[in-house]
Symmetry: C2
Subunit: 483 residues, 2 copies
C-alpha cells in the first residue's frame, strides 16, 4: 500500500481550558496527569502506525519551537518532521488543502493523508490502528473517510454522523452530518445506534481529496495552490518547513473541511470505532481522566480541605485552603486563577473571550514564555525593574542584541554561560555575574551540556520587550522578530 | 480625675481570617478598605480620649517593629509608647495582671487602665468616648467595668452579659456572664433587652483590679508579680519596653480575665453602648464593611466574572476568572489561596489549625516579612538560588553579618545603599550592583531619604535563614536573634 502521511493539525487556543491553555501555549501542549502533552500523545500514536515514514504538522511559528521540544522526547524512531506554518488560523479547509497539495508535490497522488487534531486523546491505540487500517482500505477505493466515535452518552457538544449502507472492506457510507443536537435529539441518536460522534479525524488519498475539493470547494483549492506557490521552502535550516505566505493565505475562505467538503460530497465513508476518545473540551472532560479520592476530590498540589467534596483542584505551586464547597473546578497558575462551577465548565470560554476583548495578557501569554533557545519567566515587575529567570538549553544561543533603555545584571545560578558583552567575550560560571550597560551589544549562550539557569535583573526607565535591536540570530529572527 | 492609661492587647493570630491573618502578621495588622489597620484604628481611637498621655501595648517581639510602623503614622500627638513584650501568648488574665502591676509601679494606685483588644473595629468614636467617660466614673467608685454592646442580631459567636440594677453615675451592675448561646437562646436574649455582647473591653482602677485579683485569682497575681520582677527595663533603647521573663511567665495560669476574675467578682459593672462595634471575626464580618456592586459582589483586584453573584473576591495581585458561582469568599495571597462558602466563613479557622498541625509555613509566615529596618519578600526559590526583594527604610541598617554557605548579589533598583563588603565601605547607587562572597562580613544600610529597594540573589548549596553570624545590630538582635 502507498505511503501514509500523518498530518497533525495544531490550531486553536482551547479557550475552555483557560487559564492553562492560552493563545501562546494552547491546548495541545497541556500536560496530562502522566506528564505527556496531548500533542506528544498524538505524535506517539501516529509514529507507530505501519507505513509511516515521516510526520507532517500544520501549526504556526509562535509555537513551532515548543512543538519541536515536545516531539523531541517522543520521536524515538527519529522520523523526519515536516511543517507547514500558518501565518494565522484560517479554519481546517485551507490547512488541509495546502497539506494535500504539499504532499502531492512531495510524495505523489497515491499518498494517504491521515488528518488528526493535535489536542484529542485516544486511549485505545490498538483500536485506533485497526480503524486506520480500515480507513485506508476505503481511502484506496476513492472514499473520503471519517472516523465515527461510538457515542458513550448523549453529548450535546459534538456534531454527529448518521451511518448509511455498509461498504465492502468495512465501514459505512455516510447518510448525513448533523450539527450539535439538543439533549432530546442526542438521546434519540444514541438510542438509535445509527449515529456516531464526528471526531474531526479523516483518512484521505491525495488525488481523491484534491479532485473532490476541485468539485465542491474550488475557491479553497485555488487559494491553497496560489499560497503554496508563493511559500518557498525555508533555506538555511535543518528542519523541513514551509512558512505559508500571508498575503495569499488570507484570501482562502475561512471554512471548516466539514462545511467545505464533507457535507457536500457523496463519496464520504465512516469507520465506526470505540477508541477511548475524548476531545478534552473542558476542565470537566479533563478531570474524567483522573481518579477521585474518597471525598470525590482530585488534587494536584497541596490543599487543606474542610468539608469539601467533588472538587478538581489543580494548584501545583500554591497552597489552597477550601471550606464547605462541592463540585468546583479550581485551576491556579502563576498569574491567573480560575474558579468554576464544574457543571458549567464549558462556559470558561467566556472568561477567555472577555480577556481577549480587553486585550489582557492573560489571554495570550503565560508568565513562562517558550523561545527557540529555552524559556524565560518574569518573576517580578516593579517600577524601574523587572526580574526574569532565563533557561538556555545546552548548545543554544540568544541573538546578538542591544537595548537602548535598560541595563541588565546577569547571575548564573546553575550551568555555564558564554557571554558577549561589548568588546568582551568570556565564560561565566555558576555563581558569577556580569553587568550589561544600556547600549552595549551582548549575547548569551550555553556552551555546556546541562541547562544554563540565569537570573536577569533589568533596570531602567523603560523595560518593554520591544526595546531590542537584533544583530544576528541563529533561529532566523533578525532583524524583524522579537526576542 | 486620675490618669487614663489605654492598654492595647495584641494577641492571637486571628485564624479565621487566614490566609491574610497569620501568626507573624496577625489580624490587628490587617488593612481595612480605607487602608488603615485595625491596630491603627485602635490607637487613634484611644489617643484622642481626654486624660491620655501615653499608650501601653502588650504584644510580642515578633510583631513589635510592625506595631511601631503602624503607630508611627497615626501617633500625631507623639504620645510616649510603652510596651510589655510577652514571650508567648498566655491568655488575657496574666497579660492584664502584669499590665496592672506595671502601671501601679509607674503611675500609682489611682491610674485607670482601659483594656482594649487591638483587633476590634469601633465606628462610632463619639459614643465610645462617652462610654469610656461613664466607665471611668464607675471605675473610680471601685467597680470592675465592662462594656456591653447592644446586640444587633442574635449572634451565637459571642458571650453575653446580663445587666442587673442600675448604678449611680450610669451603667448597671452585672447579674451574670453567659457563654456563647445557641440560636434560640440568643434570640431570647436579644428580645429581652437585658443582654449585651461581651466585647472584651474593660475599664479598671489599678488598686481595685489588684485587690480583686488578690481575692479571686491570687495565683495569677503572684505569677505576674514574680515575672515582672524578673523582667527589667531593656537598656540601650529609646523605646520604653519590658520583655517579660519567659521562665516565670510560663508559670502563670493560661486563663482569660473573664474566667479568672469577672465571672467571680461581685464588683463588676457594665456600660451598655452602641458603638458600631465589630470584632471582624470572619471574612463574612469583614465583607460587611464594604459596599456590594449590582451583582452583590465585592472585588479587590481584577476579576472576570460570568454569572457570579454575592462573592467577596480579594485578589490584589492576580487575575481571577469565575464561572457560575454564588456566595463565595475568595482570598488570594502570594503563597496561599482561600476559597470558602461564605455562610461558613467561621470554619476557616480549621484550615489554619490544620496548617499549624502540619507545621506549614503558610500558617505562620507571609511571603513578605517585616523587619525592624524594613521588609523583605522571597520572590523565588529554586535549587541553589533564592531571590529576595529587600526594602530598607531611610536611615535604617541591617546587622553586620556573615554567611558561611551562600554568596549574595545585590542590585539597587531604587534609592541609595551604603555597603560594607569585607574590607570595603562604599555607596551603591540605583542600577549598580555588588557581590558578597560567602565568608565576607557585610552590612547594608540606607543613608538616603527615600526607601532603598534592592534585589538580592542568593546562591549556594544551603540558603536557610539560619546561616547567619551577626556581629552587631542596632536593634539589639546580636548575637542570638535571627535576621
Amino acid at each position: 500500500m502507498s505511503q501514509l502521511i500523518p498530518c497533525i493539525i495544531a490550531g486553536g487556543a482551547g479557550t475552555r481550558l483557560w487559564p492553562v491553555s492560552r493563545e501562546a501555549m494552547p491546548k495541545p501542549f497541556m500536560r496530562l496527569p502522566d506528564g505527556q502533552s496531548l500533542l506528544q500523545k498524538t505524535f506517539a500514536r501516529v509514529g507507530q502506525l505501519p507505513g509511516v515514514e515521516r510526520v507532517l504538522t500544520v501549526t504556526n511559528r509562535e509555537v513551532l519551537f515548543r512543538t519541536l521540544d515536545d516531539y523531541r522526547t517522543v520521536n524515538q524512531q527519529d522520523l523526519p518532521l515536516e511543517f507547514l506554518l500558518e501565518p494565522f488560523g484560517r479554519n481546517t479547509a485551507p490547512a488541509i488543502a495546502v497539506a494535500a497539495l504539499y504532499v502531492q508535490q512531495q510524495y505523489g497522488d497515491q499518498a494517504h493523508l491521515l488528518i488528526l487534531p493535535a489536542d484529542h486523546l485516544i486511549r485505545d491505540e490498538q483500536a485506533f490502528a485497526e480503524a486506520v487500517a480500515t480507513a485506508r482500505e476505503l481511502a484506496a477505493q476513492g472514499y473520503l473517510v471519517t472516523f465515527g466515535i461510538q457515542p458513550e452518552h448523549p453529548e450535546t457538544g459534538f456534531g454527529y454522523i448518521e451511518q448509511g449502507q455498509p461498504l465492502a472492506g468495512g465501514g459505512y457510507a455516510v447518510s448525513r452530518f448533523v450539527e450539535k443536537p439538543d439533549l432530546a435529539t442526542a438521546e434519540a441518536y444514541v438510542k438509535s445506534g445509527q449515529y456516531l460522534w464526528n471526531a474531526g479525524m479523516f483518512c484521505l488519498q491525495v488525488d481523491t481529496l484534491l479532485a473532490q475539493l476541485q468539485q465542491f470547494a474550488p475557491d479553497v483549492l485555488a487559494a491553497a495552490q496560489n499560497c503554496l506557490a508563493r511559500s518557498p521552502e525555508l533555506s538555511g535550516n535543518k528542519l523541513c518547513q514551509r512558512e505559508l505566505d500571508s498575503e495569499t493565505f488570507v484570501l482562502a475562505p475561512d471554512i471548516s473541511i466539514d462545511y467545505a467538503l464533507m457535507e457536500r460530497s457523496d463519496r464520504v465513508a465512516v469507520v465506526p470505532c470505540s477508541l477511548g476518545w475524548s476531545d478534552i473540551g473542558s476542565w470537566q472532560a479533563l478531570r474524567e481522566l483522573s481518579p477521585r479520592d474518597s471525598e470525590g476530590n482530585q488534587i494536584i498540589g497541596e490543599a487543606v480541605l474542610h468539608d469539601v467534596h467533588n472538587c478538581y483542584i489543580d494548584s501545583p505551586r500554591r497552597l489552597v485552603g477550601m471550606v464547605g464547597l462541592d463540585n468546583l473546578i479550581v485551576v491556579d497558575t502563576p498569574d491567573a486563577l480560575l474558579i468554576a462551577n464544574a457543571e458549567r465548565s464549558q462556559e470558561v470560554k467566556f472568561i477567555a473571550q472577555e480577556l481577549k476583548r480587553r486585550g489582557h495578557d492573560a489571554y495570550r501569554l503565560h508568565r513562562t514564555v517558550t523561545r527557540p533557545w529555552g524559556t524565560y519567566s518574569v518573576l517580578e515587575e516593579g517600577p524601574r525593574f523587572k526580574i526574569k529567570r532565563i533557561m538556555v538549553r545546552p548548545g543554544e544561543s540568544l541573538s546578538l542584541q542591544m537595548h537602548h533603555h535598560r541595563s541588565e545584571h546577569w547571575i548564573v545560578v546553575s550551568g555555564m554561560a558564554r557571554v558577549v558583552n561589548g568588546e568582551g567575550d568570556f565564560l561565566l560560571n555558576t555563581n558569577e555575574s556580569t553587568f550589561i550597560p544600556a547600549g552595549h551589544t551582548h549575547r548569551l549562550a550555553n556552551p555546556g551540556v546541562i541547562d544554563l539557569v540565569m537570573i536577569e535583573v533589568q533596570s531602567g526607565e523603560y523595560l518593554g520587550e520591544d526595546d531590542i535591536v537584533r544583530f544576528s540570530d541563529v533561529y532566523g529572527r533578525a532583524p524583524e522578530v522579537k526576542s
